[in-house]
Symmetry: C2
Subunit: 217 residues, 2 copies
């Protein structure tokens, strides 16, 4: 490993997760275990050998585990350790800071996990006052449930037991609605997004995660 030889915690953090792609791999695992092929699909620019290398390093450093799901699944997955999950504040601080960048291009592709994490990061507690909702998300085969309250947006993998609201579509379509201000009706007409359940709640949902003001170019 390349070292900084610096007692500062920031330097040590960079030694542990400063390699290219490392933090993005952690981000994709932030909502639960995922498979090698899922990670490849989430991070298209990342080649298999580098992914293998990163996963090995992060495992040896104690940030994630390589385990096999219990039968009948019995497939290998990668999952963060508790300490790995504790990197979320780092991811969030970066996301919050970069959202103000004049060069940030929101039209690029985004993964389902990234989008849901951005909601968690940007939740506006004032605007969410009084809310208590179970929301489902279906991004192709990836399904998530979120429990939204004014103080917290708890997300996990899997279909919700009974959601007031379910979004179906690509992460980019939902991102356009929430972060891009595109009306839901327009996305539905274009066939990019489907909303099931409480449409009024869906409308409100799109306003709960405002991005910070951008800097002048």
């Amino acid at each position: 490993m390349r070292r900084y030889d610096d007692a500062c915690g920031t330097a040590h953090a960079l030694e542990l997760l400063g390699d290219r792609w490392a933090l993005l791999i952690l981000r994709e695992l932030m909502l639960g275990a995922r498979r090698f092929s899922q990670l490849r699909a989430d991070l298209p620019g990342l080649s298999a050998n580098v992914l293998t290398q990163r996963l090995g390093e992060l495992e040896s450093r104690g940030l994630l585990l390589h385990r096999t799901l219990p039968p009948p699944a019995s497939v290998p997955v990668y999952e963060l350790t508790p300490w790995g999950y504790e990197t979320e504040p780092i991811t969030q601080a970066m996301g919050r800071w970069a959202a103000r960048s004049p060069h940030h291009d929101a039209s690029l592709r985004i993964s389902g996990v990234s989008l849901l994490l951005s909601f968690r990061t940007m939740l506006d507690r004032q605007r969410a006052k009084g809310i208590d909702a179970e929301v489902g998300f279906r991004f192709g085969d990836d399904v998530y449930r979120g429990h939204l309250t004014p103080s917290l947006f708890a997300i996990s993998q899997g279909a919700p037991d009974d959601a007031q609201l379910v979004f179906i579509g690509s992460p980019m379509a939902l991102g356009a609605a929430v972060h891009g201000g595109v009306p839901i009706s327009k996305l539905e007409k274009a066939g990019a997004l489907t909303v099931i359940g409480d449409r009024k709640l869906a409308q409100r949902f799109t306003t709960l995660f405002p991005l910070p003001e951008k800097l002048p170019t």
Copy 2:
């Protein structure tokens, strides 16, 4: 620039400041403008050409400015832009997280800026209850003043007007007292640290910035 082609804010942040040494350079500028040679001294493993390259990139990205101090100084310095200063939460999140690492080696060298920033990051508001103190720090030629209150530790370059307390010595010696639990008296006997002013306050000062509990190896 190497891109991730990802709309996620974290990815964009990594494009802007994910290059090796970049975040550590920002850290060293976090308490005010510094010169090229100071940065080299603060980051011994960083060679001049890489430093030149990083400074140029960070300037073109809008995180810092290369300007000349007004006469009679008239020397070139590098200084963060307001947006550059806004990276401190990232630095702090990393430092806080890495402090729990089983592999963190606090015996390595640390810069004055790093140490003072670690105080700001780790300030325990409970323990600091009722405090309101002006503290000076002298690390060789680098002099800082800090205004400490229960909610904030404001730091700037330069000698304090009237400090109740001044620490004189190397950053590592002060770090040993605050983060390492080494008694001030012992450091003074060893000639590593000098305390001027309110010694009782100095004693209390060393308890205000507790590190989080480490993970088992």
